[in-house]
Symmetry: C2
Subunit: 145 residues, 2 copies
């Protein structure tokens, strides 16, 4: 405490790596923003796959999932159990990060397939890329909302 | 009913525009997937702007918002009040769609700025692009969760 007081008296602005200020709630909120985005976009895609909604936005949804997948691992790097994240994420980090990187690669492949071969070709394979459940079964403790 | 029976007896697959099958709940669910995505991504960006989370993913969030913004208007085209959408969306469609298209343009501009001038330059202007509140004040009836 005394150290901070002195720093305050010096009247200087101090820049520390921002992660130093991310408290546990911030970390949990942030990764939930990302996982909820994946959930919402997968929900939209599911509606398109079941033909309950037209497929006009299909490519954008595929790109949004690939993009968001690429942000997820970073959000789990701080070792902060809580929310719906099981502690096994960090005790099995090698496996967790491997699976997450595969998810990133597969969703990117589907987005690229849409670009190269069109949305119907991409939609036909997107379920193979959405490996959500197998990972959630191991690493997520779902909470009632 | 009799018509459908006959069609069934013919044993042929019939392709109708998919929108014909989107019932009201589907339409509402779909646009909520999109608006919730925007909300989650704006939440992630807000955490970065307040320096409670490192900015590693900032560009991806800016791109995800721009991409998702581009899908939103299509989701409101079916005139289906309900959820948190006020009927004014459809009675003032010219204004609503104009605002939505401006939102699309502004978020795309910020994503492009990140590409051209870097994430700090983009983050400095992103709040001007996130015109969520002014539109929600007019067109959204927020429900308690």
């Amino acid at each position: 405490m005394r150290g901070w007081k002195i720093i305050g008296m010096l009247g200087v602005a101090i820049t520390l790596p921002m992660a130093a200020f991310a408290d546990d709630k911030d970390v949990i909120d942030y990764r939930q923003h990302i996982m909820n985005t994946l959930n919402e976009q997968a929900g939209a895609l599911g509606q398109i796959l079941s033909a309950s909604i037209p497929d006009d936005n299909a490519v954008a949804h595929l790109n949004a999932i690939a993009l968001t997948a690429s942000t997820a691992l970073k959000a789990f790097e701080p070792k902060v159990p809580g929310g719906e994240a099981k502690p096994e994420i960090w005790s099995n980090w090698m496996d967790f990060s491997k699976r997450m990187n595969e998810f990133v690669q597969r969703t990117a492949d589907v987005a690229n397939r849409a670009k190269g071969k069109g949305k119907q070709a991409a939609l036909a394979t997107v379920l193979d890329a959405l490996t959500c459940k197998s990972c959630h079964d191991t690493y997520r403790q779902e909470k009632k909302r």
